[in-house]
């Protein structure tokens, strides 16, 4: 499997897209640092990149990549190699290349302009989010043989997680505002990886506001490292389950 991963990874790292993505992140981060001297504001802009751009690029690129390497996958499967191994190799290679691109693109300028604890967590969260969306992309890809439809599903995933879901949660909160909503909100929010990443970052940036207005439940949750641990482990679950489902489908699928 390592051999396959290495082959795909090298192929991906050499491709123009990964370079372009790294460069884009790098330049925008450097630009942000130069425009605004306040590191807090830079973090805010980077957070927007993290929550919008990273999931979109990860999911669309991975879907396209999967479909472009269909012939390669078929060729691999004609060899005595289990299907899961090929799929996981593709997954790890894609996730690693995009994750590395993100870490270099955002992390290096951060190191250059002075990194705090918050920026370290930003890079880590972005890496995890990349993996989650690559995982979702693989799920979208194995659902259909048609590339255009797969990209459609991928975009739908992105749209759902970054916009529709939050609107739905807000509507729910509005409708049930007469009830105690602390715990349900937390559960609802952890059903969305983008929200989880957002909360990890909020714990760094808006902690004083988070501590207000909320009950003892939130206070315990956010007051300690519990909040970050919970969010990160929930993100990990989000990285694992789509690729696991994709694997099941891929194993049974008629290529």
């Amino acid at each position: 499997m390592l051999k396959i991963i290495r082959y795909i990874l090298l192929d991906l790292l050499r491709s123009r897209f990964t370079l372009f993505y790294t460069l884009l992140l790098f330049l925008s981060t450097v630009g942000l640092y130069q425009i605004d001297g306040d590191p807090g504001k830079v973090m805010l802009s980077l957070l927007n990149i993290l929550l919008m751009v990273v999931p979109l690029v990860s999911i669309v690129f991975s879907t396209i990549h999967f479909h472009n390497s269909y012939e390669f996958i078929e060729l691999m499967l004609s060899q005595p190699v289990p299907r899961s191994r090929v799929l996981f190799a593709e997954f790890f290679a894609t996730a690693l290349s995009l994750g590395l691109a993100f870490m270099v693109g955002i992390g290096v300028p951060m190191l250059l302009f002075g990194a705090g604890g918050g920026s370290l967590i930003l890079v880590g969260t972005g890496f995890l989010l990349t993996i989650v969306f690559v995982s979702l992309a693989f799920l979208a890809s194995v659902l259909t043989r048609d590339k255009a439809r797969a990209i459609g599903i991928a975009l739908l995933f992105w749209f759902y997680f970054s916009l529709i879901y939050d609107a739905f949660v807000l509507w729910l909160l509005y409708s049930f505002s007469d009830y105690p909503l602390d715990q349900p909100t937390l559960i609802l929010v952890s059903l969305n990886p983008i929200d989880l990443a957002r909360i990890v970052m909020m714990l760094q940036m808006d902690i004083s506001a988070l501590m207000g207005y909320t009950g003892a439940f939130f206070r315990n949750f956010f007051g300690s490292y519990q909040g970050i641990l919970f969010s990160l482990s929930a993100l990990l679950i989000w990285a694992v389950w789509p690729i696991a489902v994709a694997n099941r489908i891929f194993n049974k699928k008629d290529l």
Binding site: L163, L170, L186, D206, S208, A209, Y213
Partner: protein, 411 residues
């Protein structure tokens, strides 16, 4: 030597009212209670070192109590340590330890009643129930004291410096830690509170009611359970104070309830859940304050009127101003807002389009607190944008007509 000279003088002029000095030391046979009993008006009792378990000491004469080498007055967890019921008493240089605790008798390290011109300075209070408890005494001067309590239970704690029905007091340069309220005033007027440091108190760093015409300068209130709360008072002057790191659901940097005709100038509000919370507050000026990294910089309830916010800096707050209604009777002008995205074409230093400090989402959070978890999501961003283009829910009148383009150079 001094003592002998005085004794000599006393012998020469018998019957004269020259002040005597009585010395209590481990070597002398005189006990502290004995010395206080012997002393007459105007005398000085000097206590040198040692630990004194004298139960409750009662002073009913105008005298000076001077501690050298920090003598300890131990209340053994049972007694009120020192009770003063006379004018012109000075207490300086002692360490008060372990007073009794009683919510009925309000035991204190030092309690004064009807003690005008009392001066309490350079003392330490450790594990006393109330620290310094003064009532019906005017022209009191309390300075350079350190008070510390460490119980975790609020009912086992009294207030650090507690004044009731006093006027013209001066409370300067004290440090108060871990009490119920750091400084508590009720019916205290014309008093100056300066350069005190009140922190980690279980309830409020500073708490006063019905206390008009007081001035608070250069104090620091940090990390108190519920911040600072002041109520039912007119003509408060607050200048150069720091309100820092007061976190929690009902914790406020500064809570103003039914305050009128007051001034809040040059203060710093940093890292609080809520910098300033105002309810029923009228005609109060906020100028040259810095609001930095608070959850809510200012929570301005609709019951406030005639307040003005001028030339303040709002930097890095999650929400700048929140309110609970659409009625706006207050003015905000010439402030610096780091969230302002307008332009300044004529380059006069003020933005050409007004700034609306109340965001839609802050109104939503006001109504449904758990919605806070959606903050900074793309959907909330869109909602706020749509609202700022066409205000429908946020109060249209709450705006800064001439926001400053650059932060003011403040303390």
């Amino acid at each position: 030597m001094y003592f002998r000279t005085l004794l000599f003088l006393l012998i020469i002029f018998p019957g004269c009212t020259y002040a005597r000095v009585l010395e209590v030391s481990p070597a002398s046979r005189l006990s502290l209670a004995g010395a206080i009993g012997l002393a007459k008006n105007g005398d000085t009792v000097v206590v040198i070192g040692g630990r004194h378990r004298s139960g409750n000491l009662l002073i009913q004469k105008s005298m000076t109590l001077l501690g050298k080498n920090k003598p300890v007055l131990d209340g053994e967890g049972k007694y009120e340590i020192l009770t003063i019921q006379a004018a012109r008493v000075k207490v300086s240089g002692f360490r008060f330890e372990r007073s009794g605790r009683s919510n009925i008798d309000d035991y204190a390290g030092l309690k004064a009643q009807g003690a005008d011109f009392l001066e309490v300075s350079h003392n330490e209070f450790s594990e006393t129930f109330f620290g310094i408890h003064v009532s019906k005494s005017n022209f009191v001067h309390i300075h350079h004291n350190q008070l510390k309590a460490s119980s975790l239970l609020e009912y086992e704690l009294g207030n650090g410096i507690h004044l009731w029905k006093c006027h013209s007091a001066r409370i300067h340069r004290n440090r108060i830690e871990g009490h119920r309220d750091g400084i508590y005033f009720e019916f205290v007027t014309k008093t100056s509170i300066q350069s005190n440091y009140s922190y980690k108190n279980k309830r409020y760093g500073l708490h006063f009611m019905f206390s008009n015409d007081n001035s608070y300068r250069n104090n620091t209130f940090r990390n108190n359970g519920a911040g600072v709360a002041v109520m039912y008072t007119a003509r408060v002057h607050m200048e150069g104070n720091t309100f820092d790191q007061n976190w929690g659901a009902s914790s406020y940097g500064l809570l103003l309830k039914d305050i009128r005709d007051s001034e809040v100038l040059n203060n710093r509000f940093t890292g609080n859940t809520s910098g300033v919370y105002m309810e029923g507050t009228s005609r109060t000026r906020f100028e040259r304050n810095t609001f930095k990294n608070n959850g809510w910089a200012v929570q301005l309830q609709a019951s406030c009127d005639g307040n003005s916010f001028h030339r303040n800096n709002f930097i890095g707050n999650t929400f700048d101003i929140a309110t609970n209604g659409s009625l706006v009777l207050n003015t905000t002008d010439h402030n610096y807002w780091d969230k302002y995205q307008g332009y300044d074409l004529n380059r006069d230093g003020t933005g050409d389009i007004p700034f609306y400090p109340v965001s839609l989402f802050s109104m939503i959070v006001e109504r449904i607190p758990p919605a806070m978890l959606l903050w900074r999501s793309f959907m909330v961003f869109l909602l706020n944008r749509a609202e700022s283009v066409l205000p429908a829910i946020t109060p249209e009148d709450l705006k800064d007509h001439s926001p400053s383009m650059k932060p003011y150079d403040l303390r």
